[in-house]
């Protein structure tokens, strides 16, 4: 392969750029252009005129309500997942438990974080539904009727605990490497300088960890926000979260305005996009300190 030419576009460079074409065509056709189509469409009305009306309509009570519920479920499951996930990750990395527990937990987390969607809904229905195992056991062993307290799996709370089944493992998977990065010497240095455990955690560990913690929580939030299958299978269309609203819109134009559907999608992209950008920014900050 001789490239003795001195011309501006030489053969090798052309081939170089050609090699990337299949991927680029794919990405454009099946990822970028469809998304852009929706984003652009959000700013037009059915008559083809440019308008901001769709964006304005997003703030109507029913749609805003859908966003609000989505945000609440996502925040709740993200925080719950983050909290429990953090303690689990801490337990296996720094808690002094046998190493087989750590590898089991990580393997299981790998599986559980992928076990979302419809089967997850079934699993929780079978456990905490009206005739679910736990409900029945609580009634038979503890004399405690779960459903009489007003608890219902098919609700905001029910969806949150269901989501946490994959949020917790996701947090464990993200946080374990960050906790591994805490050097043993930092703890020893802080001890010999006179600090108590609590001071070490407050002054050294939490500041070092918080970008990873915040970032992971944001990731969990975005993850929950975009999810639909579990919610659909669990609550049917009764819990009005944004993905379900969008689903109904796609299926049957319930909003009677296709462009409003685009705006709905745009809203979702904006929210998940911002979360991910923040996550990446925080992760870069965290990595800088781990040199």
């Amino acid at each position: 392969m001789t490239t003795a030419s001195t011309s501006f576009i030489d053969r090798r460079t052309v081939i170089d750029w050609l090699g990337i074409v299949p991927f680029m065509v794919f990405a454009l056709a099946f990822l970028i252009v469809p998304t852009l189509y929706l984003i652009v469409g959000a700013f037009f009305n059915p008559a083809g005129e440019f308008t901001f009306q769709n964006i304005v309509d997003l703030f109507s009570p029913s749609i805003l309500g859908a966003y609000w519920i989505s945000i609440r479920v996502s925040v709740a499951s993200a925080l719950g997942g983050a909290l429990i996930g953090f303690f689990l990750a801490w337990a296996v990395v720094l808690g002094g438990v046998p190493s087989w527990i750590r590898s089991s937990l990580l393997t299981f987390s790998g599986v559980a974080s992928n076990f979302a969607g419809v089967p997850l809904a079934f699993a929780f229905l079978a456990t905490l539904g009206r005739t679910g195992l736990v409900t029945v056991l609580m009634r038979d062993w503890l004399g405690f009727n779960l459903y009489s307290t007003g608890f219902n799996l098919l609700s905001f709370f029910g969806l949150t605990i269901t989501y946490m089944f994959f949020q917790i493992p996701l947090m464990v998977l993200i946080l374990t490497p960050a906790l591994d990065g805490l050097k043993k010497e930092w703890r020893e240095a802080s001890e010999i300088l006179g600090a108590s455990s609590w001071q070490y955690w407050r002054m050294v560990v939490l500041p070092i960890l918080w970008p990873s913690l915040m970032g992971a929580t944001l990731l969990l939030f975005a993850n929950a926000f975009g999810a639909i299958a579990t919610a659909f299978a669990l609550t049917g269309a009764s819990l009005n979260i944004v993905p379900i609203l969008l689903y109904a819109q796609i299926r049957g134009d319930v909003l009677h305005n296709p462009n409003l559907g685009y705006a709905l999608a745009l809203g979702m992209i904006v929210i998940t996009g911002i979360s991910n950008i923040l996550y990446i920014w925080l992760r870069t900050r965290a990595e800088r300190w781990q040199k």
Binding site: K183, A189, E191, I192, L193, G194, A195, V204, I208
Partner: protein, 353 residues
């Protein structure tokens, strides 16, 4: 009056005994090095002084106070780690201030003291920098300032220079010694590098397999090693197999040469084998050199190493390495040449295993 006393310290991890009956008294303001190969237990002893490990047996006391019941953060000891261990989320100022902050000192006290420390290590212009923005040598100096800021009673250094470039190692070890002298703080320095230990210590402890083989000044350790291990670990050493001629007269035979040793041979008979040791720089080729003994042998090889010319001689079945300083008109000994080495009988050391 001994300041830091280690009394019959033993440490086992499971079935392995890592430190076997270690005893040492260190004076106030003394700079002591623990020297030895990896796994000899020197870091373990250091960590026991710090409180990270507790001795399986024995007691450690500082200034008369038994440390066994004190937790690490109650001992008021400063430590510098091999991996610097600076807190990455804090800048230089905050790192150095950490021990003071934790002790609840006032803001002005902290500021004065930190500035003082930064001046001591000549890094006051870097107070705002973060660890990831600094070189290894700079980070280690900050670590030193951080350890010294709370005015500890003892300073511990765990192979602090091992992670640094050769040039920095030399300049930093001198800086450490200088600061230590200025502050008069009792210091324990762990290293596997004998040049480090010999050049800056008041006393050196040579450790081998959990035991202190010899404790002495650098000169004593080097010139009068008491065990074969110390003799071979510290500096290069020729170990010569000699045959006893007359125990009463302390004479031995090496090849065709008779040597009268200054040390008493002790409970050996004529014909017994004896190991004696000789430093490469001990002898001289000069005809009129001072010395009451000589060794004659054949040159095997000779190498020009820059400031030193190293010649290998064959004497009575032994290979003896012999160094002489280079000079512009020095002539390299030729292979096969017969050379006579002159030295003093007391340059020989008897190695009793």
């Amino acid at each position: 009056m001994s300041f830091l006393v280690l009394d019959s310290i033993k440490k086992s991890f499971g079935q392995t005994q890592v430190v076997k009956d270690f005893n040492m008294s260190i004076e106030k303001g003394e700079f002591v090095s623990f020297l030895g190969p990896s796994g000899c237990g020197k870091t373990t002893v250091l960590r026991m002084i710090a409180g990270f490990e507790s001795p399986s047996d024995g007691a450690i006391s500082i200034n008369g106070k038994n440390q066994n019941t004190l937790k690490t953060n109650q001992r008021n000891i400063g430590m510098v780690f091999q991996a610097y261990a600076l807190f990455p989320n804090m800048n230089v100022f905050d790192n150095v201030a950490f021990g003071l902050k934790v002790a609840g000192k006032s803001k002005t006290e902290i500021e004065t003291r930190v500035k003082e420390m930064l001046k001591l290590i000549s890094l006051d212009h870097l107070a705002d920098r973060y660890p990831y923005q600094m070189s290894g040598g700079q980070q280690q100096r900050v670590a030193l300032a951080r350890a010294l800021a709370p005015k500890p009673q003892v300073l511990l250094l765990d192979e602090p220079l091992s992670a640094l470039d050769a040039k920095i190692r030399v300049s930093l070890r001198e800086e450490i010694r200088e600061i230590q002298r200025q502050l008069g703080i009792t210091t324990v320095f762990v290293t596997h590098d004998q040049e480090e230990a010999l050049s800056i210590s008041d006393r050196v402890v040579v450790m081998n397999a959990g035991r202190a083989d010899q404790i002495g000044t650098p000169s004593e350790i080097y010139n009068r090693p008491t065990t074969r291990f110390v003799a071979s670990f510290v500096g290069t050493l020729n170990i010569i197999e000699a045959t006893v001629i007359d125990p009463a007269a302390n004479t031995v035979k090496v090849g065709e040469n008779t040597i009268r040793l200054r040390e008493s041979i002790g409970a050996l008979k004529g014909g017994d084998k004896l190991s004696i040791a000789l430093r490469p720089e001990a002898g001289s080729l000069l005809e009129n050199a001072k010395g009451d003994t000589s060794l004659t042998g054949q040159v095997i090889s000779s190498h020009f190493l820059g400031s030193v010319i190293r010649t290998k001689l064959e004497v009575g079945g032994n290979q003896i390495s012999f160094d002489m300083f280079n000079s512009p008109d020095a002539v390299l000994p030729q292979s096969g040449e017969t050379l006579t080495l002159r030295f003093n009988a007391h340059d020989f050391l008897i190695i009793r295993d």
